[in-house]
């Protein structure tokens, strides 16, 4: 049996699960910094409370299930889920919103299935989708990019009141409360893309802010790729498909569709491609499967963005492909050494009628 182990000699790849998660957390830092810089203290209140709730719920569930608590907590995976959900929620979300999301993520999506490694769906995205479906109002209220320290910055005190559920963004100007995708989606039917941009119903600098945030996530993603925490397959397939579909749509109808660059940088695509879609537990696992999986996410994101009711769709697309992942895995085995051709699927004879 193998008595040697890679962590004695660690090349580039982190050598333990906890290490993998630690690197992932590290890689979120640029994104978090950019978000905080543009959107204020609310990002940090989200993260802080999500982390507390995540660790608390994980510990409670482990104890309830009679599993070792501290040893398992040390794998950092609950923290990862908390951070990813925390940054996905609108900054300065109320505590109850975050709590419900974390319960859905940690209790329902993770521990009802048996904890780390067993879950079928991406926990953070289950939490996010559940909130989006249940509370469409609060979930689509993004503050404007007022900055952390600038003259227009929302003071910490107000953010805290918002976090405590005492005030809500709803009381503020409706249009500041929108992501670019959101605003674009809800532009009145008749408005052409050009008119929308010309009139820019978005506050000054919102697009720039979003672009910078997306680039910060990209930097984190590069780190993950370099450390081989993630493979290139999913991000490349997802972003590639997304750009392709966006380009086709834009070429077909430039007056009503956003440009490919807008779709890449205007929403959660980059963040999703490197941090969400890559969750190894719920994604397809073979290299070939990962390509399919990523491409599926990209296509679904664009389909929903272009025609569906939701402005952004990374969460739904990821969940939908989570749903398909085991099936993909059955049908994406590579050609095994010594075999003339790949033989895939559970049953060669019954495998074809699907679609």
């Amino acid at each position: 049996m193998s008595l040697m182990h890679a962590d004695q000699t660690a090349p580039r790849r982190p050598a333990s699960t906890a290490g993998v998660m630690r690197w992932l957390l590290l890689a979120t830092l640029p994104g978090i910094a950019a978000l905080t810089w543009h959107f204020g203290w609310g990002v940090l209140t989200n993260l802080g409370f999500a982390a507390v709730a995540g660790i608390g719920l994980e510990a409670a569930m482990l104890r309830l299930r009679g599993r070792p608590v501290s040893a398992t907590l040390a794998d950092n995976s609950a923290l990862v889920t908390a951070v990813l959900l925390g940054v996905a929620l609108p900054p300065g979300s109320a505590w109850w919103l975050i709590l419900i999301g974390m319960v859905a993520a940690i209790v329902v999506a993770k521990h009802l299935y048996g904890g780390l490694g067993h879950n079928l769906f991406n926990p953070a995205m289950v939490g996010y989708a559940l909130l989006l479906v249940s509370f469409p109002g609060p979930m689509s209220l993004w503050p404007g990019p007022d900055g952390l320290l600038g003259p227009e910055a929302r003071p910490l005190g107000e953010t805290l009141r918002q976090f405590a559920g005492l005030t809500s963004l709803e009381t503020l100007d409706a249009l500041s409360g929108a992501t670019p995708l959101d605003a674009f989606k809800h532009k009145p039917e008749a408005l052409m893309a050009g008119e929308f941009w010309a009139g820019t119903p978005l506050p000054e600098g919102a697009l720039t802010a979003w672009r910078q945030v997306a680039l910060a996530w990209l930097a984190g993603g590069a780190l993950l790729l370099y450390k081989r925490v993630i493979g290139w397959q999913i991000p490349v397939a997802m972003l590639g498909t997304l750009s392709l579909v966006a380009t086709l749509l834009y070429a077909g109808n430039p007056s009503h569709q956003g440009s490919p660059l807008f779709h890449l940088l205007g929403g959660a695509a980059i963040f999703g491609a490197f941090f969400i879609a890559t969750d190894p537990v719920s994604a397809a696992t073979s290299r070939r499967g990962k390509l399919l999986y990523g491409a599926g996410i990209g296509a679904l994101v664009m389909a929903i963005r272009a025609a569906g009711a939701y402005p952004d769709a990374v969460a739904f697309a990821v969940l939908l492909m989570n749903f398909a992942a085991p099936f993909i895995d059955y049908y994406s085995e590579p050609r095994v050494f010594g075999h003339p051709a790949a033989t895939r699927g559970i049953r060669a004879d019954a495998g074809e009628e699907e679609r």
Binding site: M1, R67, P68, A71, G117
Partner: protein
């Protein structure tokens, strides 16, 4: 009331549906007669999964009758020689729930062994053995062909002098246990050199290390 019954609407309705049903009925009758098939492939499949010990512990005289009974709705958890594995396979085949075994599982595969010195050659065990695994002629000592014996122990009871034992069958190479799973270290042999030098917190019995 009679008026209602003779209402034109009503008659039309009934006639239409009767016509429809008559037509369909004829179609079904045709199909039922034309496409009649004998035999039931499901029973074959079930039978193939049973251990073929032919021991009758399921309450049926042999595996095949039990297979037929399962095909007609009998529970799938009645074959002790098959144990959990057979139940799981049957549940898989038939899409039913896995149930715990009704009775005790056989601890290990066994074979009959006749203490030849005591055998009086009554041939009773030969008649009882469902797979002709016992050799011998009247008034000569009998012996069991171990390779053929399924371990059903049906020969035990008829023997008038109780000369048949059930012995464990050597199951070939020992099964390799699966590792214990997440949260556990892989099992390595406990070092047995320089006992004085080894800290006493290890389990001292080597057996444990071997099988755990």
């Amino acid at each position: 009331m009679l008026e209602t019954l003779l209402d034109a609407d009503l008659v039309v309705a009934v006639l239409a549906l009767v016509g429809l049903a008559g037509g369909f009925g004829a179609l079904l009758g045709f199909a039922g007669e034309r496409f009649r098939v004998e035999g039931n492939p499901v029973v074959e499949n079930i039978d193939a999964l049973l251990p073929q010990t032919q021991c009758g512990q399921c309450g049926y005289p042999g595996c095949r009758p039990y297979a037929e009974a399962i095909g007609e709705g009998e529970e799938i958890n009645k074959c002790p020689p098959g144990g959990e594995a057979t139940i799981a396979a049957l549940a898989d085949l038939l899409g039913r729930e896995v149930k715990p075994l009704d009775g005790e599982a056989e601890a290990m595969p066994r074979v009959a062994f006749i203490r030849e010195a005591e055998c009086i050659g009554c041939t009773k065990c030969i008649q009882a053995c469902p797979v002709d695994a016992i050799l011998g002629a009247a008034r000569h000592m009998h012996t069991v062909i171990a390779d053929e014996c399924t371990g059903c122990d049906l020969c035990l009871e008829p023997c008038p002098v109780d000369c048949i034992d059930m012995l464990p069958r050597d199951a070939g190479r020992e099964a390799i246990p699966l590792p214990a799973g997440p949260g556990h270290r892989p099992v390595l042999p406990t070092p047995a050199w320089g006992a004085a030098l080894i800290a006493s917190d290890r389990p001292s019995a080597p057996e444990e290390a071997r099988h755990g």
